[in-house]
């Protein structure tokens, strides 16, 4: 049995499966969010006034996952959330924990990182004397965040302060 054949059969039996899988993905993100925040499930239950069983049900995607439920969990760990729509081929929106690891991953691949740039934050180090030349990225730096490509051609624009339009 191949994956394709299995999925085709499941879809035929249950046309609502893609929606159910989307709910499972959101629940997994919530479970990761709670784990990354460092709060225990017991503490989360206390904070929300829920039973421990309800927390488990919500974070496993087996309960009724509503916007209100997601908002309550996000708020309990000090965050908010947006629903971000995208075209299928567009880069997926990164979660906070993914932004950190993706940046680190790209740093490892960056062999020609200038010596004056921090390997941790990918920004010029404050202890170094900076010249206008230093403010411009050189080499093949490029990463995508929130759907925008960030590279040497637009670094100044992306990092500079821009007055809000009135």
């Amino acid at each position: 049995m191949s994956r394709k054949a299995l999925l085709a059969g499941l879809m035929e039996q249950n046309p609502g499966l893609p929606g159910e899988l989307a709910k499972v993905a959101v629940a997994a993100d919530l479970a990761i969010l709670v784990a990354e925040s460092g709060i225990s499930r017991s503490d989360l239950a206390k904070k929300l006034g829920w039973t421990r069983a309800r927390v488990s049900q919500v974070l496993s995607g087996q309960g009724n996952l509503t916007i209100e439920t997601m908002h309550a969990v996000a708020k309990a760990v000090g965050l908010s959330f947006d629903v971000v729509f995208r075209k299928p081929a567009a880069a997926r929106a990164l979660q906070p924990w993914q932004q950190k690891s993706t940046l680190q991953l790209q740093m490892i691949d960056e062999a020609d990182l200038p010596s004056w740039m921090s390997r941790k934050t990918m920004t010029p180090m404050r202890t170094q004397k900076q010249t206008p030349k230093h403010r411009q990225l050189t080499g093949a730096h490029e990463f995508v965040m929130r759907g925008m490509t960030f590279n040497s051609s637009n670094y100044d624009f992306m990092s500079g302060e821009v007055a809000c339009a009135a």
């Binding site: 049995m1 994956r3 893609p18 899988l21 499972v24 997994a28 993100d29 990761i32 995607g61 991953l105």
Partner: protein, 166 residues
């Protein structure tokens, strides 16, 4: 040769969506949830056959459970950080005839679905079995099959016969 493939979030998308979708992000620190393949084709992974072998009512639940498990595992070890003890715990231990050591098979539980897995080398999380159970006691045949799956993996690793299939 022992063919092994790593599962990712895209494996749970219908092919029409998968072809147009940007690839899922893979963090370097992830657990590599992997299944043994019958052939060089990664669609021949054994876990799809295991889901197909479930009763019709359990197949969608098995598929969703696996999707959730893969997403959680991709945030990196330990799984117990994201899942409580009731959900993920040691299920069986045995002395392997291949390694001569005590090896442990773990279980992820979601509703009636049980996923048995083994922590292999280099962050590989080997899927050993996926089954539907109405009780927690695993039958001798299931345990025996799990031991054989782990031994086959250890044997292939020992003889450098593992071929990763993309």
């Amino acid at each position: 040769m022992y063919f092994l493939t790593e599962l990712n979030a895209d494996d749970f998308l219908p092919d029409s969506e998968r072809a147009n979708s940007s690839p899922a992000l893979l963090a370097a620190k992830r657990c590599r949830v992997s299944s043994r393949c019958a052939t060089k084709d990664r669609d021949s992974a054994g876990v799809w056959t295991q889901i197909q072998a479930l009763k019709a009512n359990d197949q969608a639940a098995g598929f969703k459970s696996l999707a959730y498990f893969v997403q959680i595992a991709q945030n990196g070890p330990p799984l117990t950080r994201h899942l409580d003890k009731k959900q993920v715990h040691e299920a069986h231990e045995f002395v392997s005839v291949v390694s001569g050591k005590l090896e442990k098979v773990w279980r992820y539980r979601r509703g009636d679905i049980r996923i048995l897995f083994y922590y292999g080398n280099r962050a590989v999380l080997l899927l050993v079995d996926l089954l539907a159970k109405r009780s927690d006691k695993l039958e001798p045949a299931v345990l025996n099959s799990a031991e054989m799956a782990v031994n086959a993996y250890l044997s292939a690793t020992k003889s450098n016969a593992v071929l990763l299939v993309d």
